[in-house]
């Protein structure tokens, strides 16, 4: 199909473009560069979570936990176990660093995916709010375990991570994530995710194993979160368990809801918007001419999330881009679209 080829070329173009921009990014103010990288990481996280929460209709509140696993595994491997690789390849040169970075990112992703499998399987018996509580608890368990693991610094955090993350890596990963999710949902196999969300009984009745789809969604979403975590660790060079708390998970969920559950473009857009908004609020909270109360609200992310969500529910319950919770192009092109029933999960 032609459409499929176009997607591949767009992916390739996105990767090349991020390489070129990355090459000339030396002149960018390092604060702005950091924010641009965070945006890319958040796109990866949100698009991955959208596969679970948006397309498959499950409700995960533990995405920061998967991210933490990826971050710590990647950081630990690249910091403690890079010496052998560097020795074998003649020191830390372009080639050896690239190889190392790719390997630790994938290792972090795989570790997170394994955790996704572990939380995905027992969660299959749970729906809606109950699933949300379990995943929330799971994310917290991961954080607490890390907090009590001395090998990675416990509550002090883990420092001395090499700064490998560049614009190129961040946006290549974001582009690949978008590509994988979009291609998946557009395939006959991937439509199974949508049918699981629409109606589980009917899915089973036509022979779709809902179990397999739910677990696949969790594993894939967790994998991308793990890779994003690896990028994050190698960008900030210091990670600490409290950076992966409940609030971080909420942040990603808000991106998904804001963008429109089941709209990859919307979710990516919301990731950009929310990341910028939260950074801007840092300045707002510093403006002395503003009343004290507004500065305090601006400094408190949880209040902002709540306000954003309340406003969204009142004004545009389907999300910014969500005409209805499905991907853009149906087979053969749709002529009409269903109105989204109340947003229940």
């Amino acid at each position: 199909m032609k459409y499929r080829h176009i997607k591949k070329w767009i992916l390739l173009a996105a990767i090349i473009l991020s390489g070129i921009v990355s090459h000339f990014s030396g002149g960018i103010n390092s604060y702005y560069l950091q924010i641009i990288i965070f945006i890319g990481i958040n796109i990866t996280l949100a698009v991955g979570l959208n596969l679970i929460n948006g397309y498959t209709g499950q409700f995960s509140l533990g995405h920061a936990g998967f991210m933490a696993i990826g971050a710590y595994v990647a950081a630990y491997l690249s910091t403690e176990h890079s010496a052998g690789l560097f020795r074998a390849l003649g020191g830390p040169n372009f080639f050896s660093i690239t190889l190392l970075f790719i390997s630790v990112l994938i290792a972090g992703g795989l570790a997170a995916a394994a955790a996704g499998l572990i939380v995905g399987v027992p969660s299959l018996r749970l729906k809606g709010d109950y699933l949300a509580i379990v995943t929330l608890g799971f994310g917290e368990i991961i954080r607490v375990v890390i907090q009590n693991t001395d090998a990675v610094g416990g509550p002090r955090g883990y420092s001395g991570i090499a700064n490998y993350t560049t614009l190129f890596w961040t946006y290549s990963v974001a582009a690949i994530t978008i590509y994988v999710v979009v291609s998946l949902i557009d395939s006959t196999y991937g439509r199974g995710f949508l049918t699981v969300r629409d109606d589980e009984v009917a899915s089973e009745a036509v022979g779709i194993s809902t179990t397999r789809y739910k677990v696949t969604a969790f594993v894939l979403g967790a994998f991308f979160a793990g890779v994003a975590g690896g990028l994050y660790a190698h960008s900030t060079t210091y990670i600490n368990p409290s950076g992966f708390d409940f609030q971080r998970s909420i942040e990603i969920v808000v991106m998904v809801i804001l963008g429109g559950m089941g709209s990859t473009a919307g979710v990516a857009f919301a990731a950009i918007l929310l990341t910028l908004l939260l950074e801007y609020l840092r300045f707002v909270s510093g403006y002395q001419w503003l009343p004290e109360i507004i500065r305090r609200i601006a400094a408190n992310r949880v209040i902002i999330y709540s306000l954003v969500l309340i406003a969204l529910m009142l004004l545009r319950p389907q999300g910014l881009f969500g005409r209805l919770p499905r991907r853009g192009i149906p087979i053969g092109g749709a002529t009409k679209r269903a109105k989204l029933p109340a947003l229940s999960a």
Binding site: T188, G207, R326, P330, G332
Partner: protein, 236 residues
């Protein structure tokens, strides 16, 4: 073709089926009638693997299928049209049908199936690009039946196809059920509250009451039966 023996099913501590034995002959239309809560839908859901029996056997073409997961049962040629027209509301009509053929290995050559269901339900062809949630109730039922046919089943189980549909459409749908049975030779197990209609089109009938088979006979005989008449057919 399909044989249930001494089937018992619980929902937690509530017993839905006490002891159900029934037989569906190849090529027949067999109907299961009974009041609300008699266990009709439970029986179908157990056959399709959505529920697990506490004890008893389900044999299909001589093999035990009681312990198989739902997708394995579909693979063997038993397809269910779930109660309440559970279509995929956010997919188009065409995509719904494609998903019906989800287990088919030859997904790329489904034109014969599409032709067939579009011939039975021409309305669906007109609406093939429409999102299924925007169809009328009757059209959704047609879609649910068509979707079940896409897997090329040998046995089709229909759960309350008349539920919430205009009487005139109900009649059409029942005619189509007969057509599917006759032109494709698909065996049909029909669960229905509208006992009159169900016994009219079926060959054999079972009357279910509070989880037990009360009586069973040829449909024509059941329609003449005084007990059935007074309890289910509104006669005196």
């Amino acid at each position: 073709m399909l044989e249930l023996s001494n089937l018992a099913v619980n929902y937690g501590s509530i017993i839905a089926l006490h002891d159900v034995s029934l037989k569906v002959e190849k090529g027949a239309i067999v109907t299961l009638i009974g009041a609300n809560g008699a266990g009709k839908s439970t029986t179908l859901r157990t056959v399709s693997g959505l529920l697990k029996a506490r004890h008893g056997n389900i044999r299909y073409e001589g093999e035990e299928i009681g312990n198989l997961p739902p997708h394995r049962i579909v693979e063997r040629g038993i397809s269910q049209v779930p109660e309440g027209r559970m279509i995929f509301a956010n997919l188009t009509v065409r995509e719904n049908l494609l998903m019906g053929a989800y287990l088919r290995k030859d997904r790329h050559k489904l034109s014969a199936e599409f032709d067939f269901v579009f011939e039975i339900f021409p309305r669906l062809k007109e609406r093939s690009r429409q999102v299924a949630g925007t169809l009328s109730g009757g059209e959704q039922q047609m879609l649910a039946i068509s979707r079940a046919l896409m897997s090329r089943p040998r046995c089709l189980m229909l759960d309350e196809p008349s539920l919430g549909i205009a009487p005139i459409l109900t009649k059409t749908i029942f005619e189509k059920i007969v057509e599917i049975n006759q032109s494709l030779g698909i065996t049909i197990l029909l669960v229905e509250q509208n006992a009159n209609l169900a016994l009219e089109i079926s060959h054999y009938g079972y009357v279910l009451e509070t989880g037990r088979i009360l009586l069973h006979d040829r449909s024509s005989a059941l329609r003449a039966n005084e007990r059935v008449k007074s309890a289910y057919l509104g006669g005196r």
